[in-house]
């Protein structure tokens, strides 16, 4: 017998600090597998955000930078311009990318920076204890929307893929789901494509993962996936928005 699935080399041996059933770990693993499969590990540098995945700089087994909240795409721009022969990815959550970091992601995407941005969307702020995110659904209760998100007062969730799709420069934009093993297998394909295009210097690539937050949603791992399937997928459609490398 030979090993057909085990810890990728692009992950360190550290235990992930995520909650039981949180799908951050799945996203990390997909990215690490893809980096290994594409032979990119020794040429890759990553940027960790502020949020639950702030320790991502410890989990990926390569040179990593820890960014200020929301600034990862700006760091990535500086990194890629400083070492154009190397490859760069960022890994960011809802608050980091869609709240405080909106300017940085829009402009890095608009410049067509040769980086890959991975965006984990779980409709809430996990690390700080379950506050409302720009992606929190209408009427969803969080600690800062205790009566439910009132869209008349503070608007609707932001669909980042759609927003970035309005720009000319981005090369690849796809939203995927991590909500079942089958979905995860499909998500892996998007991750591989995004990083392959990165390796080939094609341009800006972006993958949004629909994910869960069992702890702050007050559910267990399985319940949270069901809730996300029923409530998040109708609003955040899983689809490819742009693939400039696709044969017609």
């Amino acid at each position: 017998m030979e090993v057909i699935a085990t810890r990728p080399k692009s992950l360190t041996d550290l235990n992930f600090t995520y909650c039981p059933g949180c799908l951050h770990g799945v996203a990390h693993r997909l990215i690490a597998e893809a980096i290994d499969e594409l032979g990119m590990r020794n040429n890759m540098m990553g940027v960790a955000p502020v949020g639950c995945s702030v320790f991502a700089y410890k989990f990926f087994n390569m040179d990593m930078q820890e960014a200020a909240h929301g600034r990862a795409p700006a760091l990535a721009t500086g990194m890629k311009r400083a070492r154009p022969d190397m490859n760069v990815f960022t890994y960011q959550g809802d608050g980091d990318l869609a709240a405080i970091g909106t300017a940085e992601i829009v402009h890095a995407a608009n410049r067509g920076e040769h980086i890959t941005v991975f965006f984990v969307n779980n409709a809430i702020y996990g690390m700080t204890g379950g506050q409302m995110a720009p992606t929190t659904l209408p009427n969803m209760k969080t600690t800062t929307s205790p009566y439910g998100r009132d869209v008349d007062d503070i608007g609707y969730p932001i669909r980042v893929c759609e927003l970035l799709d309005s720009l000319v420069a981005p090369y690849f934009i796809e939203r995927v789901s991590l909500l079942s093993p089958v979905d995860i297998v499909k998500a892996k394909k998007a991750v591989l494509k995004a990083l392959k295009y990165n390796k080939e210097e094609r341009g800006f690539t972006f993958v949004e993962f629909i994910s869960t937050c069992p702890t702050n949603w007050g559910m267990d791992a399985l319940e949270s996936r069901t809730w996300a399937k029923e409530n998040m997928l109708p609003f955040f459609k899983v689809q490819n928005f742009r693939d400039n490398g696709k044969e017609a």
Partner: protein, 360 residues
């Protein structure tokens, strides 16, 4: 270009930075330093360097962080309100032990203020304007030549100590034209050496085990015991910089001084004119001009207070910021007085003379 030319301060420092090996520059336009970013936009491509006009000063300082984390010489510049935006990034640079050069061409404040020269960012620059315990060396030029020379000094200090370094200039120096003699441009070998000087800690090409590296550019230490060690190490660095990198100028400082003036940057130029006039008419006034505002030359200021000095007078283009450091240095030896000018206005040599004469 010839090595000696007549040039505007903003452009001179940009040219000097390029010659000192800076090949990455990220910034946002703001008066009175837009000539700096425009010069970089024209010149960086000519040396195969990188110029990006960022979407904000915040984005620019974070691009600097990313590039610095890759071990390369990188710079940004702005003016007071934009430097305020960069404070988060500067704190992160300091916390992560990253070299970088940041130029502040000061203007009137607070808030949007105006676009005329001022020295109102002294506290922001020397007290670590962002969060937490940190310092950045602060260099204060008073001529266009000095402004230009400080570019390579700033990069050298930044690389030596792995720290952000601030050049605190102002709109007057940024806009005025004076003769400048430039240092030679770094040779390709020197540039390569600069790019390779930080490979032991920066993000750079990797190998498989056993030589695989996992460098972390980071200011987060969630374990307080570890954070304490980290901050105490920063403190050791700041103590070393304080011991070795103080710089100042003494102008007519001698045992017969009746008054000692302390001033920095543009204010010191005006004071020198006034002092020259007064000294021609039989008075004896000296000037200490701090060149590093951090580390502050406290002992130098103290020792410059001669036995006959009646008073130390501090002149600044603000409500009184460096005067606090002068009081610390003088430590009660003699009274310390102050004259300021705010709103982006600059005092005249006559106003300075009058203030000194009051006390003679």
């Amino acid at each position: 270009m010839a090595n000696k030319v007549l040039m505007k301060g903003n452009e001179a420092v940009a040219e000097a930075a390029i010659r000192a090996g800076c090949r990455l520059y990220f910034a946002y336009p703001i008066t009175p330093q837009s000539e700096l970013i425009e010069y970089m936009a024209r010149m960086m491509p000519k040396v195969d360097g990188v110029f990006v006009q960022a979407e904000s000063e915040i984005a620019a300082i974070n691009m600097v962080y990313g590039a610095s984390g890759c071990g390369r010489r990188v710079m940004t510049s702005s003016s007071s309100p934009g430097i305020a935006l960069k404070q988060e990034g500067i704190s992160y640079l300091a916390g992560a032990n990253l070299p970088a050069v940041i130029i502040n061409v000061q203007r009137g404040g607070p808030g949007l203020g105006d676009i005329q020269p001022a020295q109102g960012d002294y506290f922001q620059a020397t007290r670590g304007g962002g969060n937490g315990d940190y310092y950045t060396p602060v260099l204060a030029p008073s001529t266009v030549q000095e402004f230009a020379d400080m570019a390579s000094l700033a990069f050298d200090l930044a690389d030596k100590y792995r720290n952000p370094v601030l050049i605190l200039s102002d709109g007057l120096l940024g806009q005025m034209m004076e003769p400048v003699e430039f240092q030679d441009t770094k040779t390709p070998e020197e540039l390569k050496a600069l790019d390779n000087q930080h490979l032991d800690w920066c993000c750079c090409p990797n190998e498989d085990e056993p030589n695989h590296h996992h460098h972390e550019i980071n200011s987060l230490e969630i374990d307080p015991v570890v954070l304490e060690k980290h901050v105490l190490k920063l403190a050791d660095k700041y103590a070393e910089i304080t011991a070795n990198e103080q710089r100042w100028e003494e102008y007519n400082v001698n045992d017969d001084n009746e008054i000692l003036v302390v001033a920095f940057g543009t204010a010191s130029r005006i004071c020198k004119s006034s002092i020259d006039d007064l000294n021609k008419t039989g008075h004896n006034v000296g000037l200490v001009r701090p060149i590093t505002l951090w580390p502050y030359p406290y002992e130098a200021v103290s020792e410059a207070v001669g036995p006959k000095v009646k008073k130390v007078i501090v002149f600044e283009l603000n409500l009184g910021q460096m005067v606090e450091d002068v009081r610390l240095g003088v430590n009660g030896k003699v009274p310390v007085d102050f004259m300021g000018k705010v709103g982006g206005l600059v005092f005249t040599p006559e106003e300075v003379k009058a203030k000194i004469k009051e006390n003679l």
